[in-house]
């Protein structure tokens, strides 16, 4: 008693009560109360996303809108290594915010809009991201983190059939493109994208209409999917989770994400950390992100140490779980580059005991995007 307490206000998405009525179990995540799972549990939620369709409330993520003239492109290209100049309207790219050492401040999806750009930011990073981006903005660049919008991911093989019935035209979208559509007399923005390795959409919709959209999805047997299955799905798809597989001390070359730096930008540079990244692109990095498959059933979770077969420590696990579609444990981590070849035998130290494993190809589960 009498001790000082810092009271952090926990945020909730517009669908909080809706999740509660669906039987969600909540966990604190990036300052939000978010569903970790619903009544079905993680494995069933995972499988129903892969075989039918699932929806994810990802409204905790930042929807950051920027408007401006050509100088906005120049400003953003200082911190984002994508080719924004040649990004077509309604096209999206996976990219990063980089610091001066080439470390990843956040990973993101950036979409060219009619008036500028929309960037989807990780919930835990969004405030800092905006601070970092703002350093490069000019007075005539407008920006807004829009909290009046929800973001719903609809993922799985039946997504297109189900959403096309409600919002005609979405079936024509190709992977990593988007457009404006009408729904309930309002504008909404739909992109063909996601983070599960499945075909699907991300729908930016006003907080006042989102429940109605979810009613429709549920009436089409789309299951609610929590953060637990979101994690197993993205890990099977070989996708990184910021704060675990990526952080400010890791650069895109080490993260095995050099494909996400535009070819032109690799040559010409002009973004934070380019000198360092140019050097790493030419000479390789000391450590690199790899896929890992334990030989047996043991799960190598985050921070599990990785050893060679003759007991030299070579790295650590950054994400690890059981992959329901692979029906085996899967993991990602960083190892010294000379041990990164697919098929290399390794040992994983779990609860003080060493278990065999192998460096594996990523993804563990084959993607089926509509190109």
């Amino acid at each position: 008693m009498g001790s000082k307490r810092v009271i952090m206000e926990v945020q909730k998405t517009a669908l909080y009560n809706y999740h509660k009525n669906l039987g969600a179990k909540f966990v604190p995540f990036a300052g939000y109360e978010m569903p970790i799972q619903y009544k079905d549990g993680i494995v069933k939620e995972h499988i129903s996303t892969r075989t039918h369709a699932g929806f994810f409330d990802v409204s905790h993520m930042g929807q950051f809108f920027l408007e401006g003239d050509e100088t906005l492109i120049t400003a953003l290209e200082k911190i984002i290594p994508a080719d924004l100049k040649n990004l077509k309207i309604n096209h999206s790219k996976y990219s990063f915010l980089l610091n001066n050492e080439g470390g990843i401040i956040d990973d993101l999806i950036i979409t060219r809009t009619e008036k500028g750009f929309c960037i989807i930011l990780n919930a835990a990073c969004k405030e800092n991201d905006i601070k970092q981006i703002s350093q490069f903005l000019k007075k005539n660049h407008k920006h807004l983190l829009n909290n009046d919008l929800s973001l719903i991911a609809l993922q799985g093989p039946k997504s297109v059939e189900i959403l096309e019935k409600l919002i005609p035209g979405v079936a024509n979208l190709k992977f990593m493109t988007g457009n404006n559509f009408k729904y309930e007399g309002e504008n909404l923005y739909v992109t063909r994208s996601g983070y599960t390795g499945e075909d699907g959409f991300e729908i930016s919709i006003s907080n006042t209409k989102v429940e109605k959209l979810i009613d429709y999805l549920i009436s089409n047997e789309v299951k609610p999917i929590g953060l637990g299955a979101r994690d197993t799905l993205r890990l099977e798809a070989g996708l990184c989770l910021y704060g675990h597989d990526l952080n400010e001390k890791i650069n895109p070359v080490e993260a095995n994400l050099k494909w996400a730096i535009a070819k032109k930008r690799k040559e010409v540079g002009g973004f934070n950390g380019w000198e360092k990244i140019k050097n790493l692109l030419a000479n390789g990095s000391e450590k690199i992100r790899v896929g890992i498959k334990p030989d047996g059933k043991v799960i190598a979770r985050e921070n599990t140490k990785i050893f060679t077969s003759d007991n030299n420590e070579i790295g650590f696990v950054t994400s690890g779980t059981f992959g329901p579609s692979v029906n085996a444990p899967v993991a990602m981590g960083y190892v010294k580059s000379e041990f990164s070849e697919v098929g290399t035998s390794i040992q994983l130290e779990v609860r003080g005991k060493k278990y065999g494993g192998k460096i594996s190809e990523l993804p563990f589960y084959k993607k089926s995007y509509v190109k």
Binding site: I36, Q37, G41, I42, V43, K44, G228, T232, K297, V298, I299, R301, T321, F322, P324, P329, R351
Partner: protein, 126 residues
């Protein structure tokens, strides 16, 4: 076989002469969710009351399984190590974790009855 007794760490024990069978409760499996990894002890291992004896992992997290009673392991249930998901289906029956030869029956006597355990779970929701 004697009446099942329960621990505060959500294990159950049944006793057949000097040999106890230990598993995790249905309530425990509901809290854990989908079980994807199980490690059971080898025969011959000595365990203490409330000492770590086995491991159970769900999609969410890894947990230790404690022995509610002291003794020497006579058998670990290899069937659940091969098929961890079976623990969710029959935790208080076929999916027992290990058997042990007990040292002191009074440790068994002090564990909770079914009614006491149900009440304990209600009062300590997690």
């Amino acid at each position: 076989m004697s009446e099942k007794k329960f621990s505060k760490k959500h294990e159950w024990v049944s006793l057949d002469g000097e040999v106890a069978t230990v598993g995790i409760t249905k309530h425990a499996t509901e809290m854990l969710g989908d079980i994807v990894f199980v490690e059971v002890p080898d025969a011959g291992k000595a365990v203490e009351k409330e000492g770590q004896a086995a491991v159970v992992e769900s999609t969410k997290a890894a947990s230790d399984v404690y022995s509610p009673i002291s003794g020497e392991i006579t058998e670990g249930n290899k069937a659940i190590a091969d098929d961890p998901g079976s623990v969710n289906l029959d935790p208080e029956g076929a999916s027992w974790f290990f058997k042990l030869k007990i040292k002191d029956k009074s440790e068994y006597d002090t564990l909770m009855s079914k009614d006491e355990y149900d009440k304990f779970c209600k009062e300590n929701p997690s």
